[in-house]
Amino acid sequence: MKRLLSGNEAIALGAWEAGVRFASAYPGTPSTEILENLSRYSHLTAEWASNEKVALDAAIGASLAGVRAMASMKHVGVNVAADSLMSVSYIGVNGGLVLVSADDPGTWSSQNEQDNRQYARFGKFPCLEPSDSQEAKDFVQEAFNLSERFNTIVMVRTTTRISHSKSAVEVEMPAPGRPDVPTLEPLPKFERRPERYVIIPAHARRLHPVVEERMHQLREYSETCPLNRIEWGNSQIGVITGGAAYQHAREVLAGFSLLKLGMSYPIPQKMIRDFCRQVQQVVVVEELDPFWEDQIRALGIPVTGKAFFPLTGEFTLERVRAAAHAAGLPVTPLPVAPLTEPVQAPPRIPALCPGCPHRAAFFSAKKQRLLVAGDIGCYTIGVLPPFDAIDTCISMGASIGVAHGVRQAGNQQKAIAVIGDSTFFHAGLSALANTVYNQVPVTTVILDNHTTGMTGGQGNPGSGVPAQNQRSGRQIDIESVVRSLGVEWIRCVDAFNVTAVDQAIREAVAHQDGPSVVIVEGDCVMNQGWQRSNLVRVDLEACNGCTLCFNVGCPAILKSDELDVKTQRPKAEIDALLCTGCTVCVQVCPRHAIYQPESGHE
């Protein structure tokens, strides 16, 4: 039967059907749902790792131990895992080993839009690129086969539009999760093969030619790989495309001949030459980098490509059509008349949720006019109004190192590094060790909401919540970790006590005798067991429209229609549906005009 599945759901199903026994991931948009879905299947272990490198390392270990293994991550996560990725390319696999890289053209939820097909070329391993959910499922299965056949890690690369779009997938019964797969057989003893598994220089020197020979074999295989196919049509134009771009090219350049590269690296050189010989003009339609275009040009084939098709951003039908039109290809631009009466739609800027435990820390950072080295998570929203508080954000865990460097450069401004619990365990630990080791008075504010919030609430070492319900997880106490790393000045404060948060940060910044850490602790509203308190109210007699409460950036605080007689400014109003009763606004109101009733009914 056919079911609508997202690309990520299809990847999970494909991996399960391929008999994956171990899967690990660090959550990151648009890759998160792959492991979330895998965790619901039986006969496999699915885990959240503390970061992407650890996820890949664990998958490598499982592969060497003899089972099929998979690591999934967002494109920038592959940067974190790249050290091991480059080594495992030499080492090879035992059980099939698949890396899923979910790229984000258009930077919907990322710090860049790097094209991870480049990693396949750089690291010398194959890359498969599905164009819809059916292919996502099929290609993952093929990836495991290729991995074992060619003794190599295989990358499956998706993009946001593949991972997060739903399309029809042929699904076989039995339903996932039922234990209809054969019981696992005990694994043989780990085979000792240091000449392959221990990548010392002498072994690496011997393995590099093996990798080059493997690439040679993969190039030959690509010529007959069933994932590459030609859809013959009008020979005036021959389109070479793949991934999400295939769907756009097929629609805009309908009727022309098309070569779809399902295996995006290595490319089938002979197949491409033959195809190009049979068409009058070759057009390469690919998202982001001219990855194929450069390689095809190197074959001596003139192509139309990035001179017209955008190098940046996500493809849309209108962008591809506009580019094809500009390139002089026979397509008609859609007659979209400009709007005669455009409406000025006010933006909906992302905001911290009502009840978010990060609010008081940013209110405080702004009030104290601190230099803030930020990090990656929901709390990056601290850069936006009304906080305007974050000065830098580079990559996972970078806050502490950046604050360290600013200080070491000789900057004496009051500064803090702000990092979430999941990000702290991801890449903050080694950065904090560096600051302690070098005895630099950096203040690190750890926003501990006991979850990985931005990606929808996944477990992490700070929460101890495992990816699979049936397994156990252990929570690691952040204060103990920080103390044992050698930080002597530590304060733990309740995230919803505005004065305590402000005071702790003030004292930490003033502390100049070594590193200091403030742990701001409070549950994310998405956490299990989280409870709403009584919603707060505004005493309209007392409110004079001073607008200070708007500085906490809460979507539940509105401007009412009532103006203060003196100030002529609108008084505050609380949205009863949104308010969680966290009382941050109650605490910042200088006139005690916002209050929390004892019970829900007055």
Partner: protein, 192 residues
């Protein structure tokens, strides 16, 4: 049926993704190919939600081309105007009249557009504008979370697929104890 493009818009938390899921499944159930696409992540926190559904014999890109949307289903009044450019001339617009005030208005310098301006923007593309106070209907039926189903009912009246197919898909997605309420919500939306 010809290729059909739907665009569902509104604000995070309004049940837009479920509604668009259902419409994609109705397409499959009606024997067509269907795709659906939306954006998760950073843009979701308090932001605009935009979910595309396409039906056809063989659907290509999961997102419709600018100016080719046949049905704009807006769960919030202002959002209908934000997406006018996506409409094909004479498209059908179904808009919930609920207003959700953006923070740029509640605490910033922006103004919520006047009804007349929203109307004018929509009319520059189409006269087929259908308003429904789905929240009021849902509350009358006893559960504000039925907004979703009320809006789907209103949409279904314009789409040549049997109501039975819609109800069948909806019944597969809601817990049995909410089934009757959802049927009622769908019917009320359909006849409004």
């Amino acid at each position: 049926m010809n290729d059909t493009n739907f665009l569902f818009v509104g604000v995070g938390g309004q049940g837009i993704l479920t509604a668009s899921d259902i419409v994609a499944e109705v397409g499959l159930a009606a024997g067509l190919d269907a795709k659906k696409s939306e954006i998760h992540g950073f843009s979701q926190r308090g932001g605009v939600v935009e979910s595309h559904v396409r039906w056809g014999q063989r659907v290509g890109a999961p997102v419709a081309e600018l100016g080719t949307v046949d049905f704009l289903v807006s769960f919030e009044l202002l959002e209908s105007a934000r997406f006018v450019e996506h409409l094909r001339p004479n498209a059908v617009v179904i808009t919930n009249t609920q207003r959700i005030i953006p923070m740029s208005v509640s605490s910033g310098g922006y103004a919520y557009p006047a009804d007349g301006d929203i109307e004018k923007a929509l009319r520059s593309r189409t006269d087929q504008i259908y308003r429904i106070d789905a929240l009021a209907v849902a509350q009358e039926l006893g559960n504000p979370r039925l907004v979703n189903t009320v809006v789907l009912g209103a949409l279904s009246w314009h789409v040549p697929v049997d109501a039975a197919v819609w109800l069948d898909v909806i019944s597969r997605r809601v817990p049995p104890r909410h089934l009757n309420a959802n049927r009622q919500a769908f019917d009320t939306g359909r006849s409004s």
